[in-house]
Amino acid sequence: MRIVIKLITVALLLVGVSASAVDAGKKPVQKPSEASRARGMFIKKTSDAMSIVVFKNVGGSLVPVDPGAEFKSGDQIKIQFASNFDGFVYVLNIAPGGKRCILFPYPEAADNAVHPEQRYDIPPGGDAIEFDQEKGTEVLQVVMSRDRIPYLDAALKEPGRCLSESATTAAAELQAGIVKNATPVIPQDENNKVRSRDIILASGKDRDSKGGSVVAVPDNGGGGKLKSGEFAPFEIRLKHN
């Protein structure tokens, strides 16, 4: 995928989004009770959570689409998300060839700190992400975290904002996730307390009728809030044929 600059009429048709194609790791949620519980946690902020919608440019308008739909070369999409917590969000694109590049924060953004009640567009403004000629599964890897993630921050400074393009950054990531003097957060080592938490993924309309997929950290063991050093990753898989 590549980011193209194209003015798009922002007409967000807010309809429900199926999350059936979204891989949330161990719990691809389909049970209605669990989905409504997750949506409830997002809205009531009882748990750190995100709402994500994938929009497709259809005739100049942005229309929410099922991420499980098939995309073609030239299709343009935009991703909108909101969080209900103060923290940090990273969105990576894993191309069909395996190349990993950071989509959010985008170059123009000074920060990737996220705050409740705000919506964030990827890419911002009139830009869109266009499917190029490289066919296969495009993975959007979303990482929610209470703190900055040093090795991802380091990748922001690399050419093209891609991970492990040089032996130095690849070695740092493989060794301990430490880049220079940064505190290790991810990947995980025996001695630090970082851990991922299971994610509940809810599909369909939100209670506030704003639409989208809600991802929530369950409130088991930690009250649903990401602690310092914790992160919660999940993936959206877009098929490009």
Binding site: I94, G98, T137, E138, V139, A167, A170, L174, Q188, S196
Partner: protein, 363 residues
């Protein structure tokens, strides 16, 4: 091939002094520079090895860099049969510091060679725990015009002790992989070191191009003398050495399991490593980073990491640099997964590697 083609009288030195810190760091760097002595097997018995150029210790386990032309016989074009490396000392070269070295990697395009210390001068094997005084390699990208340089080596006109002189960076030829300097570079400096004011290796003095004009004093059409107008010293930038060390590590991994591997690696049959990373439940893991290291490497660094790549949405990966057949250490990391380490055999025709990663919660 690059050779020292002429000597270069040092330009008038600038008046600026050297700080005590720079003096200390450059002095410290001299401990990594030594003299290369060579000998042919057909030389008369008892004829000692003769000085030929300089060399620099670039790895603590006894890997030394010099120029190809320093260890190559000009007449035959073949490598000398016996090559001795004598580490720098403040006093005269002593037999106590001499080591027998063997070429292990040649890059004739850049006129650079890596040598490995095989034994001391008496033929005794060096203990693996012995640490050689390796020089630190500078980030050549940061070098700017007129940065200060110090040439360290054993010029033939300098006697048997290490000789240091000073100059500046006069130019960078990025396409040609050269750094140009006005520092004095003469015969014997080849293969030595050019260090910056931090004592870090910037380049290897490799050749000098002098501007000499013939003088026909008696008008007979034949030059009677030459007038020298100046010279430019050419250094091979140190980043080339880093690349060769990585190449050597890859070749070294091969040699650990293949006794028939030739001692000098100039070309090898390389294999592209492919595989798939899955979770224990069989689902593909996207975005996992996979790397190969030589067996026994405890740490992943830019020098020890031989090849690497990350997985796509199907968990498939293709590592970015082909490697020789052999046994390697594979490491993998992925978000929310336990780190993975395992030995793998890379051979022609072997199936794709399958890596299974456990979730962190399985700890």
């Amino acid at each position: 091939m690059c050779e020292l083609v002429a000597s270069s009288p040092q330009q008038g030195r600038r008046d600026a002094g050297i700080t005590p810190e720079t003096r200390a760091l450059v002095s410290q760097a001299t401990a990594s520079i030594g003299l290369i002595l060579v000998r042919n097997s057909f030389d008369p018995p008892g004829q000692p090895a003769r000085p030929r150029g300089s060399a620099v210790v670039v790895r603590r386990d006894g890997i030394v860099v010099t120029n190809c032309h320093v260890i190559t016989n000009d007449r035959t074009g073949k490598l000398y049969d016996e090559i001795v490396f004598s580490l720098s000392r403040d006093d005269a070269i002593s037999s106590l510091t001499r080591y027998r070295v063997k070429p292990v990697l040649l890059n004739r395009e850049y006129d650079l060679a890596l040598l490995r210390v095989e034994s001391d001068a008496a033929g005794n094997v060096i203990k693996s725990s012995f640490v050689f005084p390796a020089i630190e390699i500078a980030d050549v990208r940061k070098i700017k015009l007129l940065d200060e340089l110090f040439i360290i080596g054993f010029p033939q006109k300098g006697g048997s002790t290490v000789t240091v002189n000073r100059g500046v960076v006069e130019g960078k030829d990025i396409l040609g992989n050269w750094i140009k300097t006005d520092a004095r570079v003469i015969h014997g400096n080849s293969g030595g070191a050019a260090v910056n004011s931090d004592g870090k290796l910037v380049g290897i003095p490799t050749k000098v191009v002098a501007d000499e004009q013939p003088i026909d004093k008696d008008g007979d059409g034949f030059p009677d003398d030459y007038r020298r107008y100046g010279a430019v010293g050419f250094l091979r930038p140190a980043h080339l050495i880093g690349e060769m060390l990585a190449q050597l590590t890859r070749a070294g991994a091969e040699r650990q399991i293949t006794a028939s591997t030739p001692a000098i690696v100039e070309a090898s049959k390389l294999l592209t490593v492919r595989g798939v990373v899955k979770a224990t439940d069989g689902k593909p893991i996207a975005g996992a980073l996979i790397g190969l290291l030589a067996i026994g490497e405890p740490n992943v660094t830019e020098r020890t990491l031989l090849t690497w790549g990350s997985t796509n949405g199907e968990g498939e990966f293709v590592l970015n640099k082909p490697v020789p057949p052999g046994r390697y250490l594979l490491r993998a990391k992925a978000l929310a997964r336990q780190p993975y380490t395992s030995d793998v055999e890379i051979a022609a025709g072997s199936p794709a590697i399958i890596v299974r990663m456990s979730p962190l919660s399985d700890r």
